[in-house]
Amino acid sequence: MKTPLLEVRDLTCEFRVRGRTVHALNGVSFGVEAGETVGLVGESGCGKSTLARCIVRLQRPTGGHLMFEGQDYVGWPERRIRRLRRDVQMVFQDPMTALNPSWTARRLIMEPLMLHRVPMREARLRHLLDEVELPAGILNRRPSELSGGQRQRVAIARAIGPSPRFVVLDEPTASVDMSIRAGLLRLLRKLQREEGLTYLFISHDLSTVRHIADRLLVMYLGKVVEEGAMESVFRKPSHVYTQVLLSSIPIPDPSVHRERLPMLGEPPSPTEVTTGCPFRPRCPQATEECKQPQPYYEVEPGHRAACRLAKPEGGRESLARVTTGVA
């Protein structure tokens, strides 16, 4: 089996909040192959952003493994991590808060080039501007003097400056208008092809994710409940949460009428440890069986879901059970 570029194995991350433990990540496993885009969706508080911060090691996980090209970097000291960040970069959700407001675009784009000792920085800066389709005239402007789309392009230029292999994109289009969104997505796809990038694309907007990602991870309360090729998950959503989620997306076409699937109650608190399926308290189809830890059942090759309803007929579950997360 091919070694994935990035592998996350049994990752846990806990926080102490007012004497209680929040289980932000509760045993997350998956792999990302070089050159692909993996979309990660889930509701707010499900651990998406914590996972992103763990992968770039802005956050230290409590347990589990993070591997880049087969090397486990979860326990590396900060100095070694800084070198890793040349390969593993991140674009944050809101460039208005992620970019230093008193720095010019030139300084913002230059900073990572200097940190990572990129040679011929002036030439690289010009090339980056071309790559993210910004005019040279913006170099002396500060974030507040840029449009939302331009700000996010500066943030992208910062991330790809040191020529990383892997980029975590945390809601990169959430802060821009819809007319700008398509342009940014097209740009990200172009950069991926030209620079040979691999993306983890985090979003709560499934319409966007469907257009950019090859594979989809669905998280619920600190766990990956379903994972598979985008088309396979949309064609055959197999965890009840995924089914509810997909049925809730508004479709911009007045001639389409959907049947929305219901959920019970309100979102559970991440301080309560649930054994078994994390979606159980809200699931209209939950049974006693769901109180037990749910294995992943294979739905189609490379597509698995941790839901008893995804169990193949005839009890083949032990064969379909996947533990390493690499489908």
């Binding site: 819809m178 007319s179 398509a182 959920m263």
Partner: protein
């Protein structure tokens, strides 16, 4: 054709010290029941239009002209006191950040009760609050009635505000991005709830949003704003099938459908005209079909079909083009 509940006529608003108005001649007819959508990008004047309607313009903004007619009266001529009575009784409003619309120092029950007694004059309205919370499908309403806003999720706070609207029973509910920032599952629940509220009370809803998916699902009529003007208004099916204004076409061309992935639309060429401020069509600088006349002289909304108004000089020449052609965009697999 049903009568209109509220009519905005030539509404012009400017900020002090700025020569160019932020709203210039906005015309809008809100039908007496059903949902009307108001869409446009940030800064297009959607929220300002709604704030002008309810008399809550931010400091520094002044109405330079126009009227807001509701049941034969011009709301713009009302005194502050009289307008305060209109808000909540005849016009209700819910906002994007529901928690900031609630008083952090009062329980949600007390706030709902105040809204109930304000409307009915009944002093012991607290009992009604539980009932209202149950109606908006708040889990454990007996418990939640004693909760403070910070103890509730964003979705639950929005339910509280909807409960207050249910008590007030306004004729018009203005909902400004009511589900932005909420999860897609919660968003769907809140919108469904607003729908049953609308059906129960027969009120009109003006939904301000940037999400055309929500518009397609909930609204009957849609108005599109750009640069402080309404550039198009149409029944929702017409708007999505055959938009008349190049800006609306651009909105439709850049839509992403989760059920139907397509290649990204991209502008043909990079057109940016130098257009002097204040004259001509507000979209001329970005419009792929602009001719010199678009820049020099202004353009009014004109009837393009039943309930369909378009403010574009080139409307007739563009008729028959595809949405991508009207938007000046192509699609290429990247």
């Amino acid at each position: 054709m049903k009568a209109n509940l509220l009519t905005v006529e030539d509404l012009t608003v400017a900020f002090e010290g700025q020569s160019r108005p932020v709203l210039s001649g906005v015309n809008l007819q809100i039908p007496a029941d059903g949902w009307m959508g108001l869409v446009g990008e940030s800064g297009s004047g959607k929220s300002l239009t709604s704030l002008a309607i309810i008399g809550l313009l931010p400091p520094g903004a002044r109405v330079l002209g126009g009227r807001v007619l509701m049941e034969g009266e011009d709301l713009l001529s009302f005194s502050t006191d009289r307008m305060r009575r209109v808000r909540g009784s005849r016009i209700g409003m819910i906002f994007q950040s529901p928690r900031s619309a609630l008083n952090p120092l009062m329980t949600v029950g007390a706030q709902i009760a105040r809204s109930v007694s304000h409307q009915t004059g009944r002093p012991n309205a607290e009992k009604g609050a539980v009932e209202l919370l149950r109606k908006v499908q708040m889990p454990d309403p007996e418990l939640r009635v004693h909760a403070y806003p910070h103890q509730l999720s964003g979705g639950m706070c929005q339910r509280v505000l909807i409960a207050m609207m249910l008590a007030a029973r306004p004729r018009l509910l203005i909902a400004d991005e009511p589900t932005t920032g909420l999860d897609v599952t919660v968003e769907a629940e809140i919108l469904d709830l607003m729908h049953s509220l609308q059906e129960e009370t027969g009120m009109a809803v003006l939904l301000i949003t940037h999400d055309l998916g929500i518009v397609a699902e909930h609204c009957g009529q849609v108005a599109v704003m750009y640069g402080g003007r309404i550039v198009e208004e149409a029944p929702v099916e017409v708007m999505f099938r055959d938009p008349g204004h190049p800006y609306t076409a651009q909105l439709m061309a850049t839509l992403l459908r989760a059920d139907h992935p397509a290649d990204f639309a991209e502008a043909v060429g990079n057109r940016q005209l130098d257009v002097p401020a204040g004259s001509g069509c507000c979209y001329a600088a970005r419009c792929p079909h602009a001719v010199p006349a678009c820049i020099t002289s202004s353009v009014e909304l004109e009837m393009a079909g039943p309930g369909h108004l378009v403010a574009c000089r080139r409307r007739q020449q563009l008729a028959g083009l595809s949405i991508d052609e009207k938007a000046g965009m192509t699609r290429a697999a990247v």
